[in-house]
Amino acid sequence: MSGRTETLSAAQAELLIQAKGAKTRHPGYWTGVLRRLSRDKMTMVCLSILLLMLLAIVFASVVSPFDPYQTSMIRRLKPPGFAGHPLGTDELGRDMLSRLLYGGRLSWFLGITPVVISLVIGGVLGVIAGFLGGWVNMAIMRTTDVFYAFPSVLLAVAISGALGAGISNAILSMSLVFIPQIIRVAETVTTGVRNLDYVESARASGASSMTIVRVHVLPNVLGPIFVYATSLISVSMILAAGLSFLGLGTKPPQAEWGLMLNTLRTAIYSQPLLAMLPGVCIFMTSICFNIASDGLRSAMDVRS
């Protein structure tokens, strides 16, 4: 997952072109996006899978056949179907399906929260940097450069490692990884929009900065920034589970896919398929978010 963000320059360029197409956005723009999105079969399949997973983990307490924390020394590492356990049991005899469902809650939370935090903080800072320019831009962007000087996984591991294990530390460290990336995108897009002719003419006709930001800049930059943020969810899910896998996220006995993958490593000789299950969940979620984000990006592209 290291540096899945390096496509940034390409992504940035694409988003910038989209933002520049902003002028051509008529009132029916969003219905057009929805129509194009609904025609994209691959994206719709992925969105449906994500929706199903979301429902399953939200209603985990209803759907789960067992208590995810109920251990049993005699029922350890049993295969799927054993004594009513649809997906078998883990290394402490807990029901696998129930743990995957409850684990999904934490994995999704850990994966999405840092992106949301970064979207808000990075978005605000980036738009400010792009709109104001000058020394404010200098200060914000040079600070961003420092964080860019670390490979993203390393930065997350370093901060998490120094702060110690825990959910809030993991979220904090991952937010620090994603904020600079969102700042860069937001700054690029905002600078691009700011230099468009019609923004120039609004400025020339005496509109206040606040009005220009509200009426001209925000509507055109929020979309591209949001699309970029959705593309980070996939990275974030893998990174979050990775931190837990290293023991830096959640702690046992909590259920979380990355942590489950780690604790089940001992079972790869006796029950290899069982040990793979949490990884399958991470993979599925991550690839669906990835494809859905790509679909959203091309649906929002006015050129297509």
Partner: protein, 317 residues
């Protein structure tokens, strides 16, 4: 252009300093008194005070940073809490091992990515494109630590073809490019290579597709150039971008191999980091991260310089 080069080299200095500052601060964001990062928690109070003074921990932070920076510039990264050895003595062989792993993985990933991305970009919208794109999306979406486990199950547990753990005879320090050692490298390198494979495929597909859509390709066809002649033009146009992404990928793999190294017990920097985290060995953590980050800064610099040299369009002044 020469001014750009000089400025770019000079710019690496403040960035390196800032990176060092972040690494320095790691000790101070760690919970508890920073002294706990240097002495074991059960040390007597008098010893603690004495060491505090020795390390300058009773001085203001900026002064401490200056002292630390001076030590680092002398090659002194401090001592490991867990082993008592100097951090550098553990870090040097670990860095070499990680470099071996990252370079091998990058080469596999680059070759596959260039082929898949080139084909996908040339034949956009065909089934070739769809297959290559599927590989690319899978490559960037797969949790590679999990892929590592799958590889172990397939090739070590089931087939018994390749070893699953370690770096072969001699452990962390005695590497050689013979089969006895290389067989240990294969699984982790292949696992790690899916990331650059996916990213290079995506990048090259985008770059090649964009180039093929440019007017000058039409001019080339109009001059009667054959596909192989046009291929040369595409390669030269795509090279600066592709090379810079590949350079950065190598850096990301150096810093991001921690998960794969953990799965395969590969004795590199990631493995070192993992044990540093596990034992709360902050000097070891700090030293390892500093070395990796500075390596990345240097790589970034080289990539920029190479890209500038390769691309006649860039006239940065």
């Amino acid at each position: 252009m020469i001014f750009y080069l000089i400025r770019r080299v000079l710019y690496a200095i403040p960035i390196s300093l800032a990176v060092s500052l972040v690494c320095f601060m790691l000790v101070h964001i760690a919970p508890g008194d920073p002294i706990n990062a240097i002495v074991p928690p059960d040390a007597p109070q008098a010893v603690v005070e004495q060491i505090k003074h020795e390390y300058g921990l009773d001085k203001p932070l900026p002064v401490q940073f200056g002292l630390w920076l001076y030590q680092v510039s002398q090659g002194d990264l401090g001592r490991s809490l867990a082993t008592g050895r100097s951090v550098w003595s553990d870090l040097r062989p670990a860095t070499a091992n990680t470099l071996r792993l990252a370079v091998t993985a990058s080469l596999i990933g680059f070759v596959l990515g260039l082929i898949l991305g080139g084909l996908a970009g040339t034949f956009r919208g065909t089934w070739i494109d769809r297959i290559a794109t599927t590989f690319a999306v899978a490559g960037v979406s797969i949790p590679h630590y999990w892929l590592g486990m799958v590889m172990v199950i397939l090739f070590s547990v089931t087939l018994g073809a390749l070893p699953a753990m370690g770096a072969g005879p001699g452990g962390a320090t005695d590497w050689a490019w013979d089969w006895a050692h290389i067989q240990y490298l294969i699984l982790p390198a292949v696992t790690l290579s899916v990331i650059p494979m996916g990213i290079i495929t995506r990048t090259v597909r985008g770059v090649v597709g964009e180039i093929m859509n440019q007017d000058f390709v039409n001019t080339l066809r109009g001059k009667g150039m054959l596909p192989r002649n046009i291929f040369l033009h595409v390669v030269k146009n795509a090279a600066p971008n592709a090379l810079s992404v590949m350079g950065l990928q190598l850096g990301y793999l150096m810093g991001g191999s921690i998960l794969v190294e953990t799965v395969f017990s590969w004795p590199g920097t990631g493995f070192l980091l993992n044990s540093a985290i596990f034992q709360r060995d902050i000097p070891l953590l700090q030293g390892t991260i500093l070395v990796l980050a500075l390596f990345f800064v240097a790589l970034n610099l080289i990539v920029d310089l190479v890209q500038t040299a390769l691309d006649p369009r860039i006239k940065r002044s």
